[in-house]
Amino acid sequence: MADVDTDRLAARRPLSPHLTIFKPILTMMMSIAHRITGAGLYVGMALLTLFLLGAAIGGGAFAAVSWIASGFIGNLLMVMIVWAIFHHLLGGVRHALWDRGLYMDPQGRELLAQATLAGGILLTLLLYIFKTLAS
C-alpha cells in the first residue's frame, strides 16, 4: 500500500483515549492520582532537599529556606507531602495485592480504590492531629 493511502486512513482514525467521553470512575481516578502523587513527590523531595540543605548549613541559608516548612505555606506543603506519601504508598500496596491476583474482582478493586482514597486522607489527618497534640 502506498504511503498516501496509509496517511489518509490514519487521518480518519479516531485517537484514543478520548478523555472527555469517559465516565470518571473511582478506580480510574485512583490510577491517575497514583501518577500525580508520584510526580508531586518528585517536586516535594526537591523542596525537602533544599530545606534540609539549609538546615545543615544554618544561619542565612536556613532563613532562606525556612518558608518550606513553616508558616501557612510551609505547613500546607508538609501536609501535602505527607498526604502524597500516604496516598502513593497505599497505591503501591494496592499494586502489590493486584500482582498476587488479590482484590481484582469488581467489588475488590472498588474497595481498594475507596481504601486508598480514604486511607490517605485519614492517615494524614491522624498524624497531623497526633503531631499537633504532641508538640
Binding site: 508520584g38 513527590l41 530545606f51 545543615a56 508538609m78 505527607v82
Partner: protein, 131 residues
C-alpha cells in the same frame, strides 16, 4: 519483522515511535522491588517529615540528628529517588513523543534525580554524622 524494519504508526507515520525497547518487565519489576522497601521507609519518613513543620533550626537539627530518623530518611531519599527516576522515565515516555525532546527530558530526569539524592544524603550527613 526484522530489527531493521521501521515501525509504521498510523498516528505518527514512519519512524521509531512506539517501538518497544523491551525493557518493560525489568522496569516493572524494579518499581515493585523498590516499592516494597519504600512502604516501611515511607511510613516512617512521613512521621519525621511532618515533624519538621514549624520547627526552629535547633529543632530541625535535633530531630534529624537522632540516629534512627537520620538512617530512615537517608534510605528513603536514596531508594525513593532511584524509584522516582524510573517512575518519571515512564511518565516522560508516555507523554513526550518528540524524539529529541524525549532524549533531553530523560537525561534531565537522570541528573535531577541524582542531584536530589546526593544533596539529600549530604544534608542529612552534615546534620547527623558524629562530629
Amino acid at each position: 519483522m526484522t530489527v531493521a524494519t521501521r515501525f509504521n504508526s498510523g498516528r505518527t507515520g514512519s519512524g521509531d515511535a512506539y517501538v518497544s525497547d523491551r525493557s518493560g518487565s525489568p522496569h516493572a519489576q524494579f518499581m515493585r522491588l523498590t516499592s516494597y522497601a519504600l512502604i516501611p521507609l515511607g511510613a516512617l519518613s512521613a512521621w519525621w517529615i511532618l515533624g519538621l513543620a514549624g520547627k526552629t533550626l535547633e529543632g530541625v537539627r535535633a530531630e534529624i540528628g537522632r540516629p534512627i530518623p537520620a538512617l530512615a530518611l537517608l534510605a528513603f531519599g536514596a531508594v525513593g529517588m532511584v524509584h522516582a527516576r524510573q517512575g518519571m522515565d515512564e511518565i516522560i515516555e508516555d507523554y513526550v513523543h518528540d524524539e529529541a525532546l524525549k532524549t533531553r527530558a530523560l537525561v534531565a530526569n537522570l541528573w535531577a534525580s541524582r542531584v536530589i539524592a546526593a544533596l539529600w544524603v549530604v544534608a542529612i550527613l552534615l546534620i547527623a554524622a558524629p562530629k
